[in-house]
């Protein structure tokens, strides 16, 4: 099969997969239904402060696995649902930020800067339309870049990287994620090392399971899904609950809804006028998204700052300028597609959403994100490539859905932002515990979950980033296997990681990233201290 045949096979796999039901004699495939359902759930979840895409992905995974099982036929419906959630939650996140000045996620903080002032002027509908248009444009652009770049990058990686280079690349990726997330690269690196350490419990090749302290409790290791849910979701729930406990406030936190009556039209001319801001932000977001770990907050910030420099309109940024809202939303939405470039071409997750996509693929089997996905073998059909192009088709289908109905759904979901956070968070806790239990079917899973929730809580309180921890837990198996094979192939050479210029380059880059960012962030911290001291004096 030629590459284009694989693309077409992927499209057919999506549209001609197992049938869910038939409508007027036309078979409706289950994958299509699942993408649409995931998209709807994603918008509702994104519009609810306290929920977010990764959380919905996490709790829906056990249900999806139970419904679809562990056969290759399950891959497209399950991953399609998760992709739908990812896209839906991206546009849904703008709703509470615009209507109630309540950013559900850190990147939505920038959406409030111009979105909420527009709502206060009575232009909430227009603000939501601007946010939707910018978001879906940025997202579509980012997906197109993903579709064209990921296969080429994967082919390059497969052609030039041996075991030492792959191990060195994982080290570079972990260093990069560790260095860019959070305030201190060294704390990020500690978090990554801790993730490797926890992942190594009860794994390995010897008959004795390592680091189990000779206990039965640790004999099967730390369950990956439980660890991810514990650190990422439950840790965050604990921090938020404690904050609410301290404040003892409840529903009054959400600002009253402003009266609407301003100019809410959003004409073609308005859209055309916003295009320069959207285009620049989409490029910024895509570049940021392709780098593992940086995330949408930085993309939104860079998009907003760049848009600010370009802006010459009547309404200044920060006072309800549609250009500011468009710049922010296009930038943060274009991160999500590009974030899958390192996942599909290298097997390295760059954000939490990608972590759950990898987890789904690993749980079902038959699809291992990494360079082997895009091996276009001519004799034997590479099913992984077909699935990958099926996934791309699912993403495009979700985008089309987003263009057509996303805006309407978004506006209908404003009510979700009124759910009080202190009622929602315990529900999130119980839902997460239930999702964990139905997978592990043992109370032991609760104890793991609580232990890791406390770990996640402590890490957040001590400003140690959690993302490097979970990413290194996921990559630990591949990393150890690459290192063992590289060492074995080198004949026991202690300098096996320095055996080629490429791996040396990766390792030097890993050190440079850490050194440069430690110095830069250290200088920023000193500056903040100086400003604080001056303010208090």
């Amino acid at each position: 099969m030629q590459p284009l045949d694989y693309v077409w096979a992927g499209v057919l796999a999506f549209f001609q997969g197992p049938e869910a039901f038939s409508l007027l004699g036309v078979a409706i495939p289950i994958a299509v239904i699942m993408v649409a359902f995931g998209f709807f759930v994603g918008i509702v979840g994104g519009a609810t402060p306290g929920l977010a895409g990764p959380f919905i992905m996490a709790v829906s995974l056990p249900i999806l696995l139970s419904v679809f099982g562990f056969t290759p036929d399950a891959l497209l419906p399950v991953m399609g649902f998760l992709v739908g959630v990812m896209k839906g939650s991206t546009v849904g996140g703008a709703v509470p930020a615009i209507l109630f000045n309540t950013p559900g996620t850190p990147d939505a903080m920038l959406t409030t800067l111009d979105g909420y002032p527009m709502a206060k002027k009575g232009q909430a509908k227009k603000a939501l339309r601007v946010a939707h248009f910018s978001s879906v444009t940025g997202d579509t652009f980012s997906d197109l870049v993903l579709f064209t770049c990921a296969p080429f990058l994967a082919i390059l990686v497969e052609s030039y990287l041996g075991f030492p280079e792959k191990a060195a690349l994982i080290i570079l990726s972990l260093s990069f994620v560790a260095a860019v997330v959070g305030d201190s690269p060294l704390k990020g690196l500690f978090s990554a090392a801790l993730g490797l350490f926890v992942a190594s419990i009860a794994t390995g090749q010897d008959s004795y399971p390592r680091l189990t302290l000779d206990t039965g409790f640790l004999r099967d290791g730390v369950p990956l899904t439980t660890a991810l849910l514990g650190v990422l979701i439950l840790g965050e729930v604990l921090v938020s609950l404690e904050e609410l406990f301290r404040r003892r406030r409840s529903t009054s936190e959400i600002a009253p809804e402003p009266v609407q009556g301003g100019d809410n039209s959003f004409t073609l001319r308005d859209r055309w006028r916003l295009m320069p801001y959207i285009s620049v932000s989409a490029v910024i977001g895509t570049i940021v998204g392709a780098l593992p770990g940086i995330g949408s907050t930085l993309a939104a910030t860079l998009g907003y700052v760049t848009g600010h420099k370009m802006h010459k309109g009547k309404v200044p940024f920060g006072q309800g300028a549609p250009e500011g809202l468009a710049a922010t939303e296009a930038a943060n939405s274009s991160v999500s597609g590009a974030n899958l470039i390192p996942v599909l071409s290298l097997g390295i997750p760059g954000n939490v959403g990608a972590v759950f996509l990898i987890l789904a693929a690993e749980s079902i089997g038959g699809f291992t994100p990494g360079p082997a996905v895009f091996r276009f073998s001519e004799g034997e059909v590479n099913q992984q490539a077909v699935i990958a192009f099926g996934l791309f088709t699912a993403m495009m289908f979700a985008n089309i859905l987003n263009w057509i109905v996303g805006g309407h759904l978004m506006r209908a979901c404003g009510i979700m932002a009124k759910v009080p956070k202190h009622v929602l968070l315990p529900m999130v806790l119980l839902l997460t515990l239930t999702a964990i239990y139905v997978q592990e079917t043992s109370f032991d899973a609760f104890y793991f979950a609580f232990a890791l929730a406390v770990l996640g809580y402590v890490m957040r309180k001590l400003l140690i980033p959690t993302l490097p921890f979970v990413i290194s837990m996921i990559l630990a198996g591949n990393f150890e296997s690459a290192i063992r094979q590289a060492f074995s192939v080198s004949g026991g050479d202690p300098f096996f990681l320095f055996s080629s210029p490429l791996s040396i380059g990766f390792l030097v880059a890993a050190v440079l990233v850490v050194v440069v960012l430690t110095r830069r962030k250290g200088a920023q911290a000193s500056e903040e201290v100086r400003e604080d001291v001056e303010r208090s004096a």
């Binding site: 390995g204 409840s250 315990p426 806790l429 139905v438 060492f487 074995s488 604080d532």
Partner: protein, 188 residues
């Protein structure tokens, strides 16, 4: 930003955890060392990955200690944890413990009191309504209790919300899927 003193303690803790793991835990709790020779072949043992991680933790902790040591003193008004944290976790721990105990034992207790006495709870753990009782009671108490911790009072309205949400979870996970087991039925 955290206070310099707090950051120094964190860095020290990171370094010590790495050192203790590398020097005591890993050598005592792995079968093969980091590098070993077997039949004239030099191989990486099971201790390699955790040793690499532990040495990394110790090194990054030491570097963090050095970097923080050089930083200017800084007084923060908000310590990361204090008495309020302890109070919150004490209450949360009590609610979680009570709800998990109720979740675990409610089903068997109700079966013992009202069942037909034909067998143990294990024999009916897959049958409605017995299989939902523990989750309903424990889940409701967990939700109601945690909401009450934050609000500072128990209200009937929140109890109703808690019951409704727990029933929704049963409808979501339990009713449609025979293969999924709600807590605590997998343990019986």
């Amino acid at each position: 930003m955290l206070e310099r003193k707090v950051e120094l303690w964190i860095a020290l803790g990171m370094m010590l955890f790495g050192l203790v793991s590398a020097l005591i835990w890993i050598p005592a709790d792995t079968q093969t060392p980091a590098i070993y020779t077997f039949r004239r072949q030099t191989l990486l043992g099971d201790a390699f990955l955790p040793m690499l991680a532990a040495c990394g933790m110790a090194l990054f902790g030491a570097l963090q200690l050095f970097v923080t040591w050089r930083r200017a003193r800084y007084q923060s008004a908000n310590p990361p944890m204090d008495g309020g944290t302890l109070a919150f976790f004490a209450m949360l721990g009590a609610v979680l413990a009570a709800s998990l105990v109720l979740m675990f034992w409610s089903g068997p207790a109700v079966w013992a009191l009202f069942g037909d006495g034909s067998g143990t709870y294990r024999t009916v753990r897959g049958e409605a309504p017995w299989k939902y009782i523990g989750f309903l009671v424990g889940g409701t108490v967990m939700l109601w209790g945690i909401i009450a911790i934050v609000e500072g009072r128990f209200t009937l309205r929140r109890l109703i919300v808690s019951v409704i949400f727990t029933v929704l979870l049963i409808l979501l996970f339990g009713v449609p899927f025979d293969t999924l087991m709600l807590p605590p039925n997998g343990d019986w």
